[in-house]
């Protein structure tokens, strides 16, 4: 069986949940082989993690020479690894960086690229992907017809399945050209953690919009009572109430949680693009005509400043 390369999504060696989802998908298509681009010293610890989700092999690419630059060196490294291993497919996390690495790789390998898959299944002629397009209004299935299928996969596209893998660690040392080292990361300021779940990975997201009037406390408290991540509409971000990293929508994050609670958000098409595939949608909005109500499973017509604090109290009580 051919290997399926899975690019590990991690922050400084901390493996992120979408990695396990990708490994689960890879097992449908071939033999999962994880690729860790990071500090070689963290390779063994990472291998222990991905072993539990069926990684048969773990290629460790030390990033000492790569990490000071934007995407191009990573694409070169993956090209060389792919040429050596001849994988059946390459799965990449659908982050902005992942998509750009995949884009360059696709040109290098003369291979078809499918972005933002929300499902991938084995088909007769290779992997068949499902994408959600036009703000979630259409579902599209597609496949790659040329070269090695390169697919970027969104978070929450599969339920991670535990499976014991061999996780044989193999160091891979790519040759990075000078031409790939031209866009330099001059400075990098890590964002402070909020202590809440990662927006794109969270099972529950509670968002606030212009209707908060700038006061996100009711949103945050309600989110905390549910153990949820906090999101925001662009109107809230543009007003400076929340950092851009919290924005949900076309130009922010796409989320697909079990539960999405939109508060004081009207439901513009660009916002929907980032949350329409959520399993259950709830809205609190004081305007009963707000378009968000067309989407909801449950809606409250009311003022979020009174509804949310009361609901927070009741949720906390129920949880005891």
């Amino acid at each position: 069986m051919s290997e399926v390369l899975v690019v590990i999504d991690h922050a400084d060696g901390e493996v992120k949940k979408p990695t396990y989802e990708l490994l689960t998908i890879a097992a449908r298509l071939g033999e999962p082989a994880a690729v860790f681009i990071g500090a070689a010293s963290q390779g063994d610890a990472v291998a222990e993690k991905v072993k539990k989700y069926g990684a048969q092999k773990v290629y460790v690419i030390d990033d000492a020479e790569l990490k000071g630059y934007l995407v191009a060196p990573k694409a070169e490294a993956l090209q060389q690894l792919a040429e050596k291993t001849g994988p059946a497919a390459i799965l990449v996390p659908s982050t902005f960086e992942g998509k750009e690495v995949a884009a360059r790789l696709a040109i290098k390998l003369e291979s078809g690229l499918i972005t933002d898959a929300v499902d991938v299944q084995a088909g007769d002629g290779g992997p068949v992907t499902t994408q959600s397009v036009f703000a979630g209004n259409y579902t599209v299935t597609a496949k790659v017809t040329h070269g090695t299928p390169i697919i970027t996969v969104k978070p929450n596209s599969a339920a991670p399945e535990e499976a014991e893998g061999a996780a044989a660690v193999e160091a891979f040392a790519p040759t990075i050209s000078d031409g790939a080292k031209t866009a330099q990361i001059v400075a990098s300021q890590p964002r402070q953690s909020t202590g809440r779940p990662e927006l794109t990975e969270a099972a529950i997201v509670v968002s606030g919009g212009r209707g908060t009037g700038g006061d996100f406390e009711p949103i945050e408290k309600f989110a905390d009572s549910l153990g949820a991540a906090v999101g925001a509409s662009r109107a809230a971000v543009d007003s400076g109430w929340m950092p851009h990293a919290f924005q949900v929508g076309q130009t922010g994050k796409t989320v697909s949680p079990q539960l999405y609670v939109a508060n004081g958000i009207s439901g513009a098409i660009q916002h929907r693009a980032g949350m329409q595939t959520s399993k259950t949608i709830v809205a609190v909005n004081k305007d009963e005509e707000a378009p968000i109500f067309e989407l909801v499973d449950f809606g409250v017509v009311g003022d979020l400043h009174t509804v949310l604090p009361a609901a927070t109290e009741q949720v906390t009580q129920r949880k005891g």
Binding site: E97, R104, T115, R318
Partner: protein
Amino acid sequence: MNIVVCVKYVPDATADRHFEEDNTVDRVGVDGLLSELDEYAVEQALQLKEKRADEEVTVTALCVGPEKAVDAVRKALQMGADSGVHVVDDAIAGSDYAATSLVLAKAIEKVGKPDLVMCGMASTDASGSVVPAMLAERLGLPQVTLASVVETQGDQVRIKRDNEGSTEVIGATMPLVLSVTDQSGEARYPSFKGIMAAKKKPLETLSLADIGVDAGQVGLSVAWTQVEDTTARPPRTAGEIVKDEDGSGAVALTEFLASKKFI
């Protein structure tokens, strides 16, 4: 300094976007416009031109798309771009990212050797955010993408951007490919003067032959990816909506969440 801004003509997001029989996006039957996210790239190009007033800066808007797509170029000219290039050829219909980036790259080479190739962060229809990276790969240029702030000094470019877990400053030397986000600053509206002036600006139409691309390299039949099926999502079944009266909303909300096992 020469700047080429890649502008895409896209179906209006608020219109009824759909697919054709052959599973390609209907780009003709739905009202289209210059992708809003590419307006930000035009805006940043124009701001660079204004900031570097002591040298000659030309801004060329480049679009690959069907006949009607010339509207996207016109809008960019109305905003203030100096000239436009529209690559149109029946053979291009149904091209995927790879072919689109090939046509764009060849057109950019034909236009000359720009110091900056500027793009939006994503097209509002495909939302791939991959064409700028592909262009950089094909043109052999550095890619500096997803900028929320752009600064230049001589041939040096510095941008600020939000990455997954951090805020980054990226530096590179021109020539390069630069993409900007919708955080980079509101795009200007064409003024009446701008609209009048645009009518006299040069707008060149190029075919594949003009840019040296073989028709057999692009289009639906040779695409590296193939859409098998497109289905409209079934409308969501109407949910339950309650009016909050004296605290009833919070009670009903909590009940609902509990019934779905979220509490």
